[in-house]
């Protein structure tokens, strides 16, 4: 049971629990509330009581949008705050719905976004203004605030100067033209900027309240103010959170559920028991035993299987004396049997992945993986066609480094961010499979997250394993992690051509051209340099009680509670 907890911690963004959804859901044909042309959800089943009981795995850290980076806080914030635009869903695809901004224009050169705000109000009845957006963005970029997410502001003009050269946060190019008009100037054109705007860091903040509550802002409902479909009315830390419909919300007519109760449940068996007793209307599981149980009773459990945006991968320390060599890195990437690993360590629940961009990401309407192919599988096939094995690549690399040609003289340390049973199994699997395919000696270093993280940041590792969840639907989100300026994954790898491709592609409006540039960049990352070893994409399995409708089925983020209804509740 504690396995679950540390697993979550280590994989950071893995299970987005209540807030997440997505994918192909044949049985979900419920109407989506919240769209402009959806009149008060009139085609929703009605009559039943409108309350929804769900859960979170861990207590959110804060409700202060400038100071959060965890999935749990984001899951709540999405529902209690409104941004310029709101993620919506139409026929299984995501769309950007009007939020605080009812309309927006983009300048011809693609850099100046002008947002025209509507009549939304805060939970105390005060109007939402452009100035509140300006205040919020500048507060987030101010190093004093300690915002862990401020790289989402990087497309905005002035970001680099403030971030890297200590310029005044006030120079960020965000401006309130009048009370209801917000202008954001970008440093370069960015096709997917609107998607980025649905991220919580782009939400507005009330300067008066933040100054009034000081450090306490966001710690309790009474020290926080909301402008979203819901307001948080109770927060018993580590126990429960209650959201109540916000009557001041501009689109309150399209908010069906009156009260939402989140239990904070850190233990999976408690979650199943609570779902079974009817205390929860929703459960997420990846355990075969529980999957079978709920699948065998489809009348009471609506099933959704959704590939997540989270990719598990190993990465190499390219400053290491061994892993500085690309052929050696390739040997380790190609030697991995992803299907077998999925069976052995994940009961076959996830999707083996052969590229850095996982299977769910698209450019426009073109799925990136379908366009770019299964790069690593192709590399394996090419190698086999030459009559070689990954071990030959390893020996080639060793010879290039003058390390002889006997892999059994090598001892490689693989670092894992976890110490529980699951990580032991995973470590043993890696050890055994690498020893047999490459003939090396492998040691596994198990550490808790804080130590692992320290080691990786300080370059004190050889290979390590982690997972990363993409935030928005554009390959840039994942590819930018390997840009020289980005130190999120400390491989020490840097490639000028790669940096150029990734940065330039961002501004290319022509989708065919953009996807090709991204493919070239990924080819440098994998085919040529192999700085990373993608392993698999996590899959989430959700069950809802049949009276719950309108839930998000998106892979990216979540449409949240706004379009949901429990009107069919018996």
């Amino acid at each position: 049971m504690r396995k679950t907890l540390s697993f979550l911690l280590a994989l950071v963004m893995l299970l987005s629990l209540a807030a997440c959804g997505g994918g192909n859901t044949p049985n979900n044909n419920a109407p989506q509330g919240g769209s402009q042309d959806n009149n008060n959800g009139s085609n929703q089943p009605s009559g039943g009581a409108q309350y929804y009981n769900t859960y979170l795995g861990t207590d959110p850290t804060s409700m202060d949008i400038s100071r959060i980076s965890d999935t749990y806080s984001t899951a709540i914030v999405t529902n209690v705050m409104e941004g310029l635009v709101r993620l919506g869903e139409e026929n299984g695809d995501y769309v950007m719905m009007p939020g605080d901004a009812q309309t927006w224009d983009l300048s011809d050169d693609g850099t100046v976004w002008t947002f025209h705000l509507g009549d939304n109000k805060w939970s105390d009845g005060e109007p939402v203004t452009a100035e509140q957006y300006v205040y919020s963005l500048k507060r987030s970029i101010d190093p004093e605030t300690g915002c862990p997410n401020d790289n989402f502001l990087s497309p905005i003009k002035g970001y680099n100067e403030i971030r890297n050269n200590g310029a005044d946060p006030d120079t960020l190019a965000v401006e309130a033209l009048d009370e209801k008009t917000l202008q954001i100037t970008l440093a370069y054109p960015m096709a997917s900027f609107l998607e980025m705007c649905s991220n919580s860091i782009y939400f507005p903040l009330r300067q008066d309240k933040i100054e009034e509550y000081g450090e306490k802002y966001g710690t309790e409902p009474e020290y926080t103010i909301f402008n979203g479909p819901y307001a948080m009315t109770e927060w018993v830390h580590n126990s429960s959170i209650t959201l109540t419909k916000n009557p001041h919300y501009w689109d309150a007519a399209n908010v069906q559920i009156e009260t939402v109760h989140y239990s904070i449940l850190g233990d999976s068996s408690t979650v199943y028991n609570a779902y079974d007793t009817g205390d929860l209307d929703y459960v997420s599981t990846s355990e075969a035993e529980w999957m079978d149980k709920y699948l065998s009773d489809p009348d009471n459990n609506d099933y959704n299987q959704i590939p997540s945006q989270t990719l598990a991968y190993s990465f190499y320390n390219t400053k290491d004396e061994l892993f500085q060599n690309a052929n050696i890195r390739k040997a380790f990437t190609l030697a991995m049997d992803r299907a077998e690993l999925n069976e052995m360590c994940f009961s076959g629940a996830n999707i083996p992945t052969f590229g850095w961009i996982n299977t769910t990401i698209s450019v426009g309407s073109t799925n990136f993986r379908e366009y770019a192919g299964d790069t690593i599988q192709e590399m394996i096939d090419e190698l086999t066609a030459q009559g070689k094995t990954p071990k030959d690549l390893l020996i080639q690399g060793m010879e290039e480094l003058g390390l002889g040609s006997d892999p059994s003289t090598l001892t490689v340390t693989f670092s894992l961010a976890g110490t529980d049973d699951w990580f032991r199994t995973y470590g043993e699997y890696l050890q055994q499979s690498y020893q047999s395919t490459l003939g090396i000696n492998m040691e596994i270093s198990f550490n808790d997250w804080a130590i692992f993280y320290d080691d990786v940041q300080n370059g004190n590792y050889q290979i390590a394993y982690m997972a990363w969840g993409a935030y928005y639907n554009d390959p840039y989100d994942m590819l930018s992690l390997f840009h020289t300026n980005n130190d999120a994954i400390m491989t020490g790898w840097s490639n000028a051509e790669y940096d150029k491709l990734v940065t330039e592609a961002l501004g290319v409006q022509d989708e065919a051209k953009r996807i090709e540039m991204y493919k070239q960049a990924e080819d440098i990352l994998l085919r040529e340099e192999c700085a990373v070893c993608p392993v698999l994409t996590f899959v989430s399995n959700y069950f809802y009680r049949p009276y719950v409708t309108g839930y998000s089925t998106l892979t990216f983020g979540s449409t949240g509670l706004k379009g949901m209804s429990t009107g069919a509740r018996p």
């Binding site: 004093e144 300690g146 971030r163 068996s269 028991n273 205390d279």
Partner: protein, 309 residues
């Protein structure tokens, strides 16, 4: 007696000082960055601002002096992990909840445990003794998360009598108290049984019997009082324990107690929270220890404070 108490209080303060100092340096010596729990590489500037805000940029000794100064003003600082939440406030709001659940469980568990212990001792070797022994073994050996899962499955899922988890209504107390009782009952029944059997073998019991006292009087007047000594010892130390919360029980029942902070703050390198909970525990423990010594002098005539007479 007054002199004795003054001496004890001074010793307490010294102990506390040593505990706090040791913990401070040990916690800061654990490898790992408190900002790691953000799971993201923070830009250098932000990292520095963060460190400056919590004083982590200063040399460890300077941080220590600062911490001690704040501690004298009863200021435990604010959490590194939960932005803006004060450590003192967190302890003040969570410890009473753990204390309530743990306290009720301790009282019920002790009462039942002592009774069962007496019953077992008086029926040594007969069936009640055997049954109680089995219960005691089960109570101490079944891991608590297994017990909780079974209880939830039976009382909530199958029978529908109790909510499976949650907090806020008296009924939410029932299952956690039941779970936490079981361990206490097991411990107390074993202790009391053993010590009771020992006492029953004492010469003065034989004398009492020889004098023709009734068995009831012997047990209540002579045996019981002397057999409860070990029970008092463990009772006082368990009283400290209830305020530290039962991490697994609290987590599995969604009880907003303090247990969570004891465990997770260490993994997350939430220095101020680790320090705060440790100081809290140390103070409780030391004070309780003194209370224990005073209780001893009251119930055991063999223990007398030097110069107390």
């Amino acid at each position: 007696m007054a002199k004795y108490i003054v001496k004890r209080v001074l010793a307490m303060l010294l102990t506390l000082f040593v505990v706090v100092s040791l913990t401070f340096f040990l916690v800061h010596a654990i490898p790992g960055d408190p900002l790691a729990s953000m799971a993201k590489a923070l830009p250098q500037q932000t990292r520095e601002a963060y460190y400056a805000r919590y004083g982590l940029d200063k040399p460890v000794f300077e941080q220590y002096v600062l911490y001690m100064k704040n501690l004298l003003r009863l200021d435990l600082g604010s959490s590194l992990k939960f932005a803006g939440r004060s450590v003192g406030g967190t302890i003040a709001s969570t410890a009473p909840i753990s204390g309530l659940v743990g306290g009720i469980a301790l009282l019920i568990g002790t009462a039942v445990g002592v009774l069962l212990g007496i019953l077992a001792a008086l029926n040594k070797g007969k069936w009640p003794d055997q049954v109680i022994r089995v219960v005691a073994i089960l109570g101490t050996t079944i891991p608590v998360f297994v017990l909780i899962s079974l209880f939830q499955l039976f009382f909530a899922v199958k029978m529908g009598w109790l909510p499976s988890s949650g907090w806020g209504k008296p009924i939410h107390l029932v299952m956690p108290v039941m779970v936490m009782c079981i361990g206490t009952i097991a411990t107390y029944s074993r202790y009391v049984r053993t010590s009771m059997l020992e006492t029953l073998d004492q010469d003065y019991v034989l004398t009492a019997r020889a004098k023709g006292l009734s068995e009831f009087k012997i047990v209540t007047r002579h045996v019981l009082r002397n057999s409860l000594m070990p029970a008092v010892t463990i009772f006082v130390s368990s009283m400290v324990g209830i305020f530290t919360g039962a991490f697994i029980t609290e987590q599995m029942f969604s009880i907003p107690g303090i247990g969570f902070y004891y465990i997770t703050s260490i993994n997350q390198r939430d220095y101020t929270m680790v320090m705060g909970t440790t100081v809290f525990y140390a103070v409780l423990f030391i004070v309780m220890q003194m209370v224990l010594d005073i209780i001893y002098t009251l119930i055991d005539p063999r223990i007398r404070v030097a110069g107390g007479k």
